[in-house]
Symmetry: C2
Amino acid sequence: MGKTRIGIAGYGNLGRGVELAIRQNDDMELTAIFTRRDPSAVKPLTPGTKVYNIADAESMKDQIDVLIICGGSATDLPKQTPALAKNFNVIDSFDTHARIPEHFANVDKAAKESGHLAFISLGWDPGLFSLNRLYAESILPNGKSYTFWGKGVSQGHSDAIRRVEGVKRGIQYTVPIEAAMEAVRSGSQPELTTRQKHKRECWIVPEEGADLAKIENDIKTMKNYFDEYDTTVHFITEEEFNANHNKMPHGGFVMRSGLTGDGENTHQMIEYSLKLESNPEFTASILICYARALSRLYKEGATGCKTAFDIAPAYLSKLSGAELRAAML
Amino acid sequence: MGKTRIGIAGYGNLGRGVELAIRQNDDMELTAIFTRRDPSAVKPLTPGTKVYNIADAESMKDQIDVLIICGGSATDLPKQTPALAKNFNVIDSFDTHARIPEHFANVDKAAKESGHLAFISLGWDPGLFSLNRLYAESILPNGKSYTFWGKGVSQGHSDAIRRVEGVKRGIQYTVPIEAAMEAVRSGSQPELTTRQKHKRECWIVPEEGADLAKIENDIKTMKNYFDEYDTTVHFITEEEFNANHNKMPHGGFVMRSGLTGDGENTHQMIEYSLKLESNPEFTASILICYARALSRLYKEGATGCKTAFDIAPAYLSKLSGAELRAAML
């Protein structure tokens, strides 16, 4: 069987992660990278990789089995995924939870009309965390679910602090509060406020002569982003920033505390957690393993839009059903 | 849509757990219990439940959508599951890992010949732990997986110590060793011996006048069960035994430590854990939620044998695809 031919649309941190993940899967190959920039300005990690302008993607449609779209959820993916599904099987990591039903409908329509298969909202949340919520809530219907994020870099919150006057460089870490997680693990099924679940830590390189007290206050009182949290603001030098804050770690926890038995007083606890040194590289690894599943399901005749919920786990593995039963069950 | 009509074959701890799990799922109903004992000697927790001898099961075949077989893996299930698949859709929790391929083949043949659908080896290991191994190893192909069990009661080891001369009552807890788990979480991908991963704790009520030193030595040196582990033996009174060792807690951890990125030196860690106050009640909750999936897949025309690997997660939930995407993705 030939290798699955992968295209990458959008060559930022996630796109580069996909390129690296392909190297770890010998049933995959990178066919082309598509960019909105001048293709000659893009330098792939893998020498010799073809780079095209995204406007020319259609010409490559017969040479790509799965196109992985690595754009942003705010403005890129709502347009790109349905548009590219007209010519390609596509995968995206659309992560604006509230808009998933609308995005699903748009992508499903485009993919069904063109006879392609599309997977959306893959990654770890939405994605692996969603799967864990589904499995745990189906198994323990009498219970309460909790999701904690971190410790890790929130791109949205980092962008927000960088827009504050007097901030030269800035990064924000979301930190789950240990006491809240311990309360969940105890089985007490606590009601937790936003402030009780997470705190926020900001590391700032100020502009020369900036008003530090004002920066701190502007951040801590910022509506939607910080006002409902306990936030710490640290001012550091650019050297310290470059040395200690150049990674994109992330992670988090999905927990389900449930009750079973006669009288429903037997406590059962399910916990799933991720501790990631690189959020984009891990997300990319998920996308590539779902590209394998997509390729198989498409060969079986599937079209339209699917999410992680719709895909039987065996499709993700290189191993056959018999090999999986012998080695992993 | 009518409720899924469940039959329970074998009414021990697991069978009673299934009966209790049905109460938590209003799309399920208990139709009958089948036993090898005299049916009049079985007292279901739910008054009015019909109890039949297992030999008369065939007469009920049109009144049961899914038969959950709650026998033991050593001798019951290898015979019962293929035999009952001739007349029923069946689910079992066959957990002898090494014999799964053979059991799968036997059940698959019987179910295909009769046009039924069978799910085998469901529970948490095999089952949820297997799923986590599969997802994690597919996502992080460069890595190492670890499974730890406990703290919890091992039925097999408890049976073994009860066969030792001078033991009146006995129970054995498998305990994962925290230092080994921390070494895994550090990302060092350690090679761990059997002794480094788990220890064993035994609580014994001795017969009057028994030779305690001999009991302890007989246990600690028992081949296959204890000789490769550090084992602690505690002697207690029957009162203490009844007060503190009357539950069947269990649990465990599945971990995958993987590497991604250029140079493959970015550490990524996935961890799944269960902390269960009742092993049989939790296993039963899994079986019932897979009964929902079985009922749906059978209506779609599926036959033969399947495992957790083959079942798309969405089939487990009472919610529709659209509801799941809106609420849980």
